[in-house]
């Protein structure tokens, strides 16, 4: 057996390199954590690598208050959760028709959905901006929710359709024999069987929407409607942002997604793989 073979010197060298690489990757984050709890004077005297001489929370507090962080956090949660649920719902309906129903025009429609996901958002931005003003949804979180529901579900439709193309026909036939219509079959057979894929989509739509920047920054102009990434970007270069407050702002921008990552790490890595293989 290979695994029981003795570890050679070269193995240790390669392991060290892999660990070193991982350290390089997390180093910027560690620097941010280290320096968010320092006063600017402390930073200027000790430099970026010293431990704080005393713990200093003013930078965090200042950014927290200036950005009204709890409000931003709630906005991000609300928008991302709405998009996740609505996006999965639309993907589910689309894929039910295309993958299981084999609706006519399947291939051209899939191309349209794929294209919708590939397009640069700038190619839609100005018309959407005009349209949102025309229907009174400019500076409303609903404009962002609707747009991302469509963009995310375009990807979801593509992925789910390929999953549903291989859906066990026996299950569908059994449901039909039991007298279940399409609506009941969808909710009582298809959704429970494919729940794993649906939950992966739910989690990805949430985090993707959370991390979006261009469309939220264009449509959400009022301060109290903005999301966490916008709040972090908006205050850069402001007077109150001394060196350690800037670091603290980045830290507060990182924490929510890092927490999310720790909770859903398994699902996320499984999902990346599924999305890549198609």
């Amino acid at each position: 057996m290979r695994s029981s073979r003795k570890r050679k010197a070269l193995d240790w060298v390669l392991l060290s390199l892999a660990v070193l690489g991982a350290l390089v990757v997390v180093a910027p984050l560690l620097l941010i954590v280290l320096n968010s709890f320092k006063s600017p004077d402390d930073y200027n005297q000790g430099g970026p690598l010293q431990l704080p001489s005393h713990l200093y929370f003013d930078g965090l507090a200042r950014f927290w208050e200036a950005s009204d962080f709890p409000k931003k956090l709630w906005n991000s949660i609300f928008i991302s959760a709405m998009v996740a649920v609505l996006g999965v719902l639309v993907s589910l309906f689309n894929a039910y028709a295309l993958g299981i129903g084999r609706a006519r025009g399947r291939l051209p429609l899939l191309v349209v959905f794929l294209l919708a996901n590939m397009l640069p958002q700038e190619a839609l931005l100005y018309p959407l901006y005009n349209m949102s003003k025309a229907v009174g949804l400019y500076d409303s979180q609903w404009s962002v929710i609707i747009i991302f529901t469509v963009i995310q579900s375009a990807f979801g439709t593509y992925l789910l359709t390929s999953v549903y193309s291989g859906f066990p026909r026996e299950l569908l036939e059994a449901a039909a024999i039991d007298g279940a219509g399409r609506w009941r079959t969808l909710w009582q057979v298809v959704v429970p069987v494919s729940w794993q894929t649906l939950s992966v989509l739910l989690i990805f739509f949430f985090i993707w929407t959370w991390n979006e920047f261009l469309i939220p920054t264009t449509f959400l102009v009022s301060n109290d409607k903005q999301t966490v990434p916008l709040a972090v970007a908006a205050l850069q270069g402001e007077k109150l942002m001394d060196v350690t407050t800037t670091s603290a702002s980045a830290l507060l921008g990182l924490i929510p997604t890092l927490v999310f990552f720790l909770i859903f790490q398994r699902t996320l890595t499984r999902g990346v793989t599924a999305g890549a293989i198609k």
């Binding site: 990757v25 349209v112 700038e122 261009l214």
Partner: protein, 303 residues
């Protein structure tokens, strides 16, 4: 298998209705309008005026436009070439060596670490690197001073020679975890017996890597290269957050150029031409990838 009377395929169309309405209203119609804008003079207030190909002619002689696409090539190096190559290397070291000799837990812990930057908002990732690269009191310059390399300190984002490389570092950092995760999962498909046979034949690690590993996970390499290339062509947030395309035009990219035409210069027609050109490039690149992939697959089958 034959559809019964209650299960004619047409009956499923109802389920497509919401999705089709939404994708028409949010993607197809706006895309058409944007293409239309690209043939007009439009300042955002008065209705667009048809001017034919004027914007497009201007595009072809606009040095800033060509610079923006030249910078896109730098983004492709940072988001596709480097992460794919490094990712292949890291994934095979983690899977083949760390996973097998030091345990799966160590390997998946390291994999998760490499993946972390992928999960943070890209604009926040940019601000993290931008914070380290601050000109006067930034961590990078302070560290250079401390180790006696003060000659190497730079205005990383303010110097036209360094701004683009600094943004590339942000993108490499953000991107590296994606190929690592995808390739590690793909490597699980490689039959270990193939390796053992190759080892008995005296093939060294590099030979095995090229002949077996790369061949088996080629589909994933294609997918990673394609999705990352599209993402690289669309890069916006780091440029917006760190340099706004500057200094000068040294970090301008097509998406930021069209955005600034829309909302700063209010040359909406011209911005629409830039974003339409970007769309065409993205579609063309994707088609080239798909055709190349099909060709490689056919060659494989013929062997």
């Amino acid at each position: 298998m034959t559809p019964t009377k209650t299960q004619q395929p047409t009956g499923y169309w109802w389920y497509l209705l919401p999705g089709l309405l939404l994708v028409s209203a949010i993607v197809i119609v706006p895309l058409g309008m944007n293409i239309y804008y690209s043939f007009t003079s439009y300042r955002g207030i008065l209705p667009p005026q048809w001017i034919g190909l004027e914007n497009w002619q201007r595009l072809f002689t606009d040095a800033k436009f060509w610079t923006s696409f030249r910078n896109s090539i730098a983004m492709i190096v940072a988001m596709v070439v480097v992460p794919t190559l490094l990712g292949l290397l890291i994934a095979s070291v983690l899977f083949d060596l760390v996973g097998k000799r030091f345990g799966g837990k160590v390997a998946s812990f390291l994999r998760a670490t490499y993946y972390i930057p992928q999960i943070i908002p890209i604009v926040v990732a940019a601000i993290v690197i931008g914070w380290i690269a601050r000109p006067d009191d930034g961590a990078l310059n302070s560290i250079l001073d401390t180790i006696g390399l003060d000659g190497a300190r730079q205005n990383w984002l303010g110097d036209p020679a360094w701004a683009l490389p600094t943004i590339m570092v942000v993108l490499i950092w953000v991107q590296i975890g994606y190929p690592v995760v995808v390739f590690m999962a793909a490597l699980a498909r490689v039959d270990p017996e193939l390796y053992e046979a190759a080892e008995l034949d005296g093939a060294n690690w590099w030979h095995r890597f090229r002949a077996i590993t790369v061949a088996v996970i080629r589909p994933e390499i294609f997918v990673v290269a394609l999705t990352c290339t599209i993402a690289a062509l669309k890069v916006f947030a780091p440029v917006y957050a760190l340099t706004r395309g500057g200094p000068g035009t040294s970090t301008i990219v097509p998406s930021y150029y069209s955005y600034s035409e829309f909302f700063q210069s209010t040359q909406v027609g011209y911005g629409a031409a830039i974003s339409t050109a970007l769309t065409v490039v993205i579609i063309a690149v994707s088609l080239v990838f798909l055709i190349a992939q099909r060709r490689v697959e056919q060659e494989e089958e013929q062997r």
